[in-house]
Amino acid sequence: MTQPLEKEAQAGAAAGTSGVPRRTLLRRVRSTATAYGFLVPTMALVLTFFVIPGILLLILSFTNLASVNFGDPWNFIGFANFERLFTDRFFPKILRNTVFYVFTTLILFNLGLALVLAIVTTNIPRRAGFFFRLVWLLPRLTPSVVYILMWRRIGQAEPYGIYNQLFPEFLGASGGNLFLGGSPWTFVILTNGFVGASFGMIIFTSALLSIPEDLLTAAKVDGASAWRIIRDIKLPLIKWPLLFIATYQTLSLLTSFEYILLLTEGGPGLFTTEVWALTAYKRAFATYAGNSQWAFGATWAIVLVTVALFFAVIYVKLFKFDELVEEPRIDNL
């Protein structure tokens, strides 16, 4: 219904303005000015908290600024920080940890379990499915400090730990602390995975529910098994949400460290569960012998930021966002 109207309006606008180019120009300038008026708060915030910090981070990584020489003029030391970073004794370990953490959590939970949960909860009665998805959302809504508190309690040593009480001699439980002893990675991945899975679960669920019912009925009538329906019909139809979650969550995992900071602080021992993002944070904000190495932390951060931006650009390209950048429907009346 609106289609012809819209076209007519556009045609009218074009016909009316083509004769008076100067007015068009003026109008265009004015409309751009109005648009930027609406964007003032956004621009101010993005400039202050994204653009300037981004540039600052890059500059910082070429200095030796730390809390001991704070107040002195910034001293530029070239690529020394980068050299130090790549020759760091723990650099290979941190890199390995990061890759392991990101891809294990992504494949097992943020993508794998998320998909399984979405498929299972859409194959049982609607209300039951809704209930389970709602419970799965709880960890995401829980304050991180409280959430980690629960997990710490589950993994604590005897007699306080819940796991040790329930399964005294089972699956590696030896009575000791689990997250700072026997199986720190299991706990790091579980804590992150239980939050991460719900995002994919919600997106996949809505994608699965929007598959036309007759398509599934037709397959059932043809005698397709549940597994074949999933493999040959459902999965191909939710290919885009799957790709979206994969890229988006890779990025989230790559730069997130809050739960690890609260759970193990990168320990136990030296760099056992320390990931790249946590190193950057700890170098800059946790003090080593009273000294916060802001510049060195910034160097770790800027390398990660570059990787993250690279992923972000791929993700924008991958999802053909020019479709979303289409011209607005209303303009220049």
Partner: protein, 303 residues
């Protein structure tokens, strides 16, 4: 036609598909219950610990080591001013964020959805890249920006390092890409007839936005506000990094201070404070279930 009537899925005469279906369903429930077990166990401990002297695993213990020991003493912190101060800070951060994110995203989302201007494409792609890009990595540099903001005369004390306003501003910026993206989506879905009529009648863009568009995106704005409030209420990393001491601590930071103290931690007190902090979230959880489960789905529709 005849084929479908002969074998409708749920009136099957053969016992086997039914048995298989039943098995499948049992397996599904078994899996789901198993999967939420750690979540339920964690919350059970929180509730039990809140009301006991001490706990071993999930069992409350009394002074003699038997099961029991119910107490309300963990909740004595309710009369402590420090808790209420933290609560107030949490609330101020969350509310400032709701307002800030709400204003910036509805204005920015409207412009991006409805107006044609030079640089629009850059803005849209930029928002998207920022949305994908996690800003936690910029915290080191934001530290310097906040110190600088704190040096501004008059208002510096409210928006600089170690102030509630500063934390709120940083959090607003972090939430903004998602907010703009969601609001643009909501505006995109609105019919434009009313807006067009108003513009032809000579109303200004601002008036159209305020009087015609905003009332129509109210459900979307409500969903965004809910999520912004929750993320502000739960904020830990930003306030932890950019505040010092107890004056400006919000609830999560206050709670982490209870744990990281050098003295032995009273875990039952920690559990009670954690529970206390979750009260508004539990209320949201009970009354806004549909909204909670649908926001991400709605927001990603464009993708």
């Amino acid at each position: 036609m005849t084929i479908t009537e002969a074998t409708p899925p749920h009136h099957s005469t053969s016992p086997f598909p039914k048995v298989r279906e039943k098995m499948g369903r049992r397996f599904a429930y078994g899996f789901l219950i198993l999967s939420i077990a750690p979540i339920l166990v964690g919350y059970s401990w929180l509730v039990i610990a809140t009301f006991s002297i001490r706990t071993e695993g999930l069992l409350p213990r009394n002074a003699e080591g038997g099961i029991g020991g119910f107490t309300l003493s963990n909740w004595a912190f309710i009369t402590d001013d420090a808790v209420w101060n933290a609560m107030l800070n949490s609330f101020l951060i969350a509310v400032t964020m709701v307002i800030g994110v709400g204003v910036a995203s509805t204005a920015g989302g409207y412009a991006l959805s409805r107006m044609k201007f030079a640089g629009r494409k850059v803005f849209l792609t930029g928002t998207l890249v920022l949305h994908a890009f996690k800003a936690e990595m910029l915290l080191i540099a934001i530290f310097f920006v906040l110190r600088w903001l704190g040096g501004i005369p008059l208002i510096g004390g409210f928006i600089g390092f170690n102030s509630v306003g500063g934390v709120a501003l940083v959090m607003i910026a972090l939430e903004l890409p998602l907010g703009i993206w969601l609001m643009k989506g909501f505006f995109d879905n609105l019919p434009w007839d009313m807006e067009r009529a108003a513009l032809i009648d000579g109303a200004s863009r601002f008036r159209v936005w305020w009087q015609i568009m905003l009332p129509q995106v109210r459900p979307g704005l409500a969903a965004l506000s809910l999520f912004t409030f929750i993320s502000g209420w739960n904020a830990y990393l930003v306030p932890f990094t950019f505040t010092v001491g107890t004056r400006v601590a919000n609830m999560p930071v206050f709670l982490s201070q209870l744990i990281s103290d050098t003295a032995p931690t009273n875990w039952n007190l920690v559990a009670a404070v954690g529970m206390f902090q979750m009260i508004p979230l539990i209320i949201f959880f009970i009354f806004t279930q549909e909204l909670l489960l649908n926001i991400y789905a709605g927001g990603s529709k464009g993708t």
